[in-house]
Each structure stands twice: as C-alpha cells, then as structure tokens.
Subunit: 522 residues, 2 copies
Amino acid sequence: MEESTATTSKKAAKKAEAKRAAELAAATANVTLQDDAAAESYGARPAVFSHGAEEVDICSLNESHVDKTVIVRAWLQNSRVQSAKMGFLELRKGANWSIQGIVMASEEEPVVSRPMVKWVMGINPESFVAVEAKCYLVASAPSMLGMTLAVANKPIVNFSDDVPPAGNVVEAEKSTIPAASMLTHLDNIAMHKRSPVQQAIADIRIEVKKPFRSYLEERGFKEFEPPCLIGAASEGGGNVFRLPYFGEEAFLAQSPQFYKQFEIAGGRERVFSIGPVFRAEISNTARHMTEFTGLDLEMEVRESYTEVRDVLEGVLLHIFRGIQERCANEVATVRAVYPSEPFLLPEPGKEVRLTFAEAQKLLREEGPAEFANVRDDEDMSTPQEKALGEVVRSKYNTDFFVVDKFPETARPFYAKIDETAAPIGDGVSVTNAFDFFARNQEILSGGQRINDAVELEARIRAKGVDPESAGIKEYLAVFRSVGVPPHGGGGIGLDRVVAWYLGLPSVHLAAYYPRTPKRLSP
Amino acid sequence: MEESTATTSKKAAKKAEAKRAAELAAATANVTLQDDAAAESYGARPAVFSHGAEEVDICSLNESHVDKTVIVRAWLQNSRVQSAKMGFLELRKGANWSIQGIVMASEEEPVVSRPMVKWVMGINPESFVAVEAKCYLVASAPSMLGMTLAVANKPIVNFSDDVPPAGNVVEAEKSTIPAASMLTHLDNIAMHKRSPVQQAIADIRIEVKKPFRSYLEERGFKEFEPPCLIGAASEGGGNVFRLPYFGEEAFLAQSPQFYKQFEIAGGRERVFSIGPVFRAEISNTARHMTEFTGLDLEMEVRESYTEVRDVLEGVLLHIFRGIQERCANEVATVRAVYPSEPFLLPEPGKEVRLTFAEAQKLLREEGPAEFANVRDDEDMSTPQEKALGEVVRSKYNTDFFVVDKFPETARPFYAKIDETAAPIGDGVSVTNAFDFFARNQEILSGGQRINDAVELEARIRAKGVDPESAGIKEYLAVFRSVGVPPHGGGGIGLDRVVAWYLGLPSVHLAAYYPRTPKRLSP
C-alpha cells in the first residue's frame, strides 16, 4: 500500500515538474538576464534582511495596509506563470494564513524587469521568501484576506532545492489514504510540519499543555522535574529501556510515579510534572510510542480521594472546553483532513462517573453479546473499553467519562484499597482508583496511593513483589523515614489526549517527533 | 571529612534519643492508658480525615482565627515534654512557616486526657500530623505568627518510624560543612526536601522556569517537545549515552539543537522547549550532572542576530529581577545556610555586552598576570571565565554580562560567520554567536545559525565532519528540502541558573533529583 502510494506520488511529482518547466520556458523564452534595470531588487540572500518598509505578518494584514508597501515573510506555496511579464504566487505561513501575490514587469518606480519576473517564477516551492510589496484589495482574490500583494522589489529567498511538487503534502493529506502513509511524510520532517494540518495539530497540542499547567497553578500546584535516568526498573522490568551507566546499569523512567510521591513525602502539597516517559514495548500500532509526554499530578488528600478525581476531571474538562472555544479554526483544519465526529462533553454538573462494577453491568446488559459475561473483578480489555465507550455515548451523550473503584486485581501495589466498600465479584477488594475515557479509549489512570509504610509493604508482598528488590527498597524507605500525608494523583498522556480528542487515525500524528520501535529519526 | 561528620551526627542522634526517652518516661511515669476519657480523640489514622472545623494552612493563620478551632496539617518538627499534663510541639510546613502547639490535660470539653498528652509527646519528629486545635495569640510565642495552637482533640498522625534526631537536617545545614556532606542528605530524600533551604530552592527554581515560559509566550514563542531518544550522536559522539533499541542503537539527546532548528524549518516562527538533556561525562564536580533541565529557544531573525541576543538577555534579566522581587524570603532562607553576595544586575539600558576580542583585551590588561597573553582567536578556559567575571564585576558592577562575536574556532559548525566583521587574532573569522555569564560562570550559549544548505555543508566539511555521517546527513537534508529562514537561538541550563544566581556550593543542590556518574537514586 505504502509502496504504490509512493510510486504514484513520484510519478505525479515528475509530471508536475515537467509541466512547470515547460510553462516557465514558454513564458520566458524571449527574456534575457542581460541589462537588468531591477538587478539590485532581487536575489538569493541566505542571511538576514535589513529594510525600511513595515514588516507585517500575513495573518495581521488588514484594510489599513491597502496601497501601502509592506514586508512579508512566508513560504512559497505555489506559483503560476501568466506571461513573460507577469506571474502569480501563493504565499503561506502557519496553518490558516495565505495570500496571493502578483509580480508584473513595470518601468515605473519601483522598476520590475522581465528577468526579475522570470527569476521570481523560478523559485522552488517551499522556499522561504521575504518580499517587499504593495497591498491591493482584490474583491475576487482567492486569498483568505481578499487582498493581493504586488511584489515590487527585493524578494529575498532561501532556496529549497530538493522539493516535492507544489502542494504535495497538503494534497496528499486531503485524501483518505491510511495513516501509515501519512507517516511516511515524517521522512521529510520540514514539509510534514509545514502542512496546515500539522501546524493546526501542533497549536492544539499547545492548548492542551498550557491550560493543564495554568489550571493546576491556579490551584496551588507546583511544577517539578522528575528524573529520566533511574537506578532501577521500579515499576516492573518488562518494558523498560536499559543502558550502560559508568559501569552500572541505568533505566529510563516509565512514569514519574515514585518521584511524584517523593515530592509529597518531601513536603510539597500539590505537584505536577510535564515531561518525557519511555516504554520499550514492541507495539507497532497507531496507539503506541516508545517515548511520549506525560502530564502528571499528585496532591495531598484531605477528606476524600475524590478531591483528586475532581481536580483531574476538572482540568480535562477545562482543556476540552478550551479547545472548543479557542481552537475552532484549527479543529476545522484537522477535520477537513481527518474527519471525525464532534467530541461530546457532559454538561456542567452532569459528569458521568461509573463505578467499575456499574460499568461492567452496563457492558453486560447493554453492550455487545460477546461481553455478556464480563466479571466485576477482572480488568477491562481494550475491546471492552471501546464497547463501553459506545454504550456510554449513546446513553449519556458524552465522549468523556470516569470509571472509578477498580478492583485491586487490576491496579498496582500502591493503589489504596477502600476498606469501607463491599468487595466485588469473587470477593475482591475495590480501590480508590479510577480511569478516565475519551472517545472510547483510556486517557488517564489515577487514584489514591497508600501512604503508610506498613500497609504499603504488605501490599507489595501481596502482589508478589520483593520489598527488598532494587527500586522498591528505596521507595519503601521514603515512607519509613517520614510520615507521609494521605495523597493521590494521576497521569495523562499528552499525545493521546490530542489524538483521541481530534479522532486522529494515529497518535503519532499528535507528537512532534514520534518514536516507535521502527522510528528514531529525524 | 564526611565520615567524621556522619559519626558526630550519629552520636548526637543517640544522645538526643536517650534524653528524649528519659524525659518522656519521667513526665509520664504515673500515667496509665486505662480508662481514657479522650480515647476517641486521637490516634494513628493513615488514611484521610473527615472533620467539621475549618482547615487552615499554617501560612494563612491570622488574627481572625484567634479563639477559633481550626484544623492544621503539618510535619512535627520537634516536641518538648513539660510535665505529665503538658507538652509543646513545633509544627512546620514549607520553607518559612512554623507554629507552636500546646497539648494540656483538661477535664472540660473537649476533654484532653493524660494518656493523650503522653501519646502526642511520643510522636516521632517528621511525622505528618493533622490537629484540631484552638488558636491563641501569645505575644511572647517563639513562632513566627505570635500564635499558638492548643491541641484540643483528634490529632491524627502518619508516623515516621525511622527518623534522624529532630532538627537534624536543618541544624546540619546551618553549619558550614562542605557541599559534599550536604549531598549525603540526598540518601534521605524526603528529609532533604523538607528542609527549609531545599523548599526555598525548589520555589526559586519554579520562579526561573515560569517567567522563562511566560516572557517567551508573550512574545509569540510556542512550546514544543524535542525527543530524548535519537538515532545518532549528532553533536559529537564523546559524551553521549547509548542504549540498545530493538536491535539497533539509540542515543540520549545532548541538546535539542537540531530539533529546534527543524521546528523553524517546519514553519514555527519562534519556539522554546523545557526538558531534560543528557551528558555522559565522567565529571564528578559540583558543576556537572549527567541529566539536567535545558531551557532552549530558537527564533526567526529579521534584520539582525542581535534580535536573538536581546530576547535571551531580556528573559534572563526578567527572571533575575523577578527572583529579587518575588522571592526575597526564599533567597534569605538560602543565604542563611549558603552565604553569598547579592547578585548584581546592570541598570536598565546599561547592560554589559563585550565582544570576545574586547573581553580578551580586558583580561590581558586588567586580569591576573597569568592571562596577560590570552589570544583573541582561542576559546576561553574556565579559569579565564572566572577571572573575566571578576574584572567585569569590579569595573561595571554587574554579575551578569554578554560576550559576543566568538571566533569560529570556538563554536560548532552551525554557527553563522559574520562576513562583514574583520577577522581577529591570527586571521580567524568571528561568528554571530555569544555566551552569557552569571557570577563568573557561563550560563548560556547562543547565536545565529547557518540557514543555507550549501553554506552549512561547507562549514561541516571545514570542521572535519563527514556530511554523510549519521545524524548530520538527516540534518542537512532538512535544509535542502525547504528554504529555511534566517534564525538563531540559545540554550540555558536551568539548574545552573538557579545555582549560580544563589551562589550555591553545588549545582546538585538546585536539582530535584541530581544525577551524577555516582548517583542514580533515589
């Protein structure tokens, strides 16, 4: 599939190039570069550019600029030769901003010569250009601003010399070829990033991260940086990267879990971290990466672990509502390429929170027949999660909900058991731990942690882990060394939040430089 | 040195423990735990705590709380038995907030029994306690607030059971023993972090990171996340961590340099990143770590590379002035333990920017005799940097300054050569690249980068690097694939900014979990 797409694309590229060359040759057949009255007005200047006219971002151009001369910096999206005296340019910057330019030979000041027209029309697509130009209002112009730039003089250019045919990325992404093909774009990272859809995804990603931070800071959370290099594969050795470390062995952190708890033990009441986490899973799926960005928080609990659940639910709702408010254009740009249903949010006060037992009951009673016998004391599988999401969506009209009170069998040793709750299933205790779901997929795990050293050691043993093993020993020592307040927290994968919210076909499209077992570059 | 300090500390601990036990035994000799009228009012409850009274942070207690009953959560810093009927507690939270508590037997409601007094006095230091208490204003009280809590009922506790003698960390840090001994505290990470000085350093660290981000965001910079796992040791293979990666080899990024440039090539005008970078240096000094937090930015240049220099200078001055304004208490807490001179900043408009040649001239003419022959075309050594900082401080009254226009011999291949400047020294070209200094040490490297593929390849070759080598090939390909605007940037080490600003004896004290060739834990 990839193979044939690549071949088609190459053929199209060659054809476009040939057509372009023919157009250029025909239009400029009689032009010579001798005796050029505008020779000082254009050329390739790879460095900086000093000038007199006002510099304006394309997105900021407005009617006040009409008939004025401005400097605009942009990428050349496309150009079209009209005659030896005239050509059209499409200039683009960012996701949603482009403008049309005209270059036309003129003997009046500022002089534009035919060689200059020829030179401008010869600029490769995706070159970076800075042009000095007069602004016209053109009612019929195809540009978004209804405005056209007349390129007057001094276009400076940093050439691209190895470029796919104009519009390649954008065109390809408007098709519905599968995500795997999209990802071959990553091999040309600059082009991939310049596509409007990737610019929009990057902007939305920022609008997840920023409000995560500001919402928490407003509530007294303090940011900290957990280490990536750690001395023990503390959370199970299976999927951990190992590396030689000055004669010893080091590991890459799979989560900041222990370090968040150390911060609480160390006297910080509420903390959060945003940083890379690593999983050495051989999962070549659209849901997995070997490095991703974790959004994590941990906080003291005062009266109930639901304080933690509510902060996490609050910050995610804040993020999702923020995207809908602030990123409508960007979401539309993404949907045009990767169609998806709008992301349904619960009305304020109508958040959906099921217990694990309620969720399993819902699945048994209203889910597909294959899940008619799911048990209350066994963890959900990915297909079960998907089915549950669909039942909840049709029943409660939301793509975002919480499943709380997981059985202890489905949680790690540090999950706090709820001693007051009745056991479920075959007599299994429930925990004060929960998962959050977005568009049928888990995006967050969290809950209350054990804060008492004796209780913690007992649970470590009950899970079959040796309390004296590397990493665990040091973890337990912290709880023995000081009294640790009751606390809880949760972790979110930034890439997944972006990908699932937008309904992207792959989480890799939400990352800046996705890392998979097969991809370490660029 | 460490050995003897540790021994002294152990002896002191044993002595303190024995004294404490004797006091407790004497004071409570006649108390039995039978027939306790206040039995329901206290005890160890490792979980959460539901209550009626208002919960108040120690730092928020004020005169409006006098004669009211409140809930306070804190660490037990210390306690002192007065009699079988009475004892004193010191409760602490954070860097600067502590309050004294009294527990006194009483038969009036709320009943406080002698067994309860005994129990409270038996709580280990550094236990986490939640107490319900009435607030008294005590003019002579030693607490910062002039206020005392009368512990009435329901102190709940998460015990610490393996605790150094009360006040150990704080006392030790008030001494002037060397930083190496300080770092042995890291083996008891929770105690280390609870010390007021580490709480203060952590708060100041936040006040470096936060304004870095907000200053840049206000100026149109967008955050992104560069990868840690990379496919090639792109910036010189010497000090790079290597790891097995699904049958291939991966490396840990030594800086986000190439990725910042890819963002610019990919159409982002101004970007910044905050994240971990890794150096596999066997440097067991107070200046080095194997993992640290990089603050990096990259931006399009319009008229001159000085735009980059000015943004970097602006953000650092903004950070330093912000610390002086917002963190006076925290800085005082740090200085009490690690004395340092105030950090001198230039007056606005009087920033000190020397060219490299000017700096070397200053060193030759006004520096120590050993530097009387330093050359304009050779990089500065660390001792030269220190000497230069001292000359600049006495001449210009600032601890913060810029050295610009480094010779190309002292910069990497991507540094942009200033074609308009006269060569220095033995005919060496100068670059549009600079270092920033704080308290005699380099804290930032930056400058304009080459944005033209042809020029870049020539410089790569000139530096003796193979343009076809792993990492370099992919880097060059980006500049060939699109036209890249002129751009520049710089990188700051967060840990060093904090450490040098505060004059800490070791950069390790500025990190949350310092990593050195000898330390991977906790």
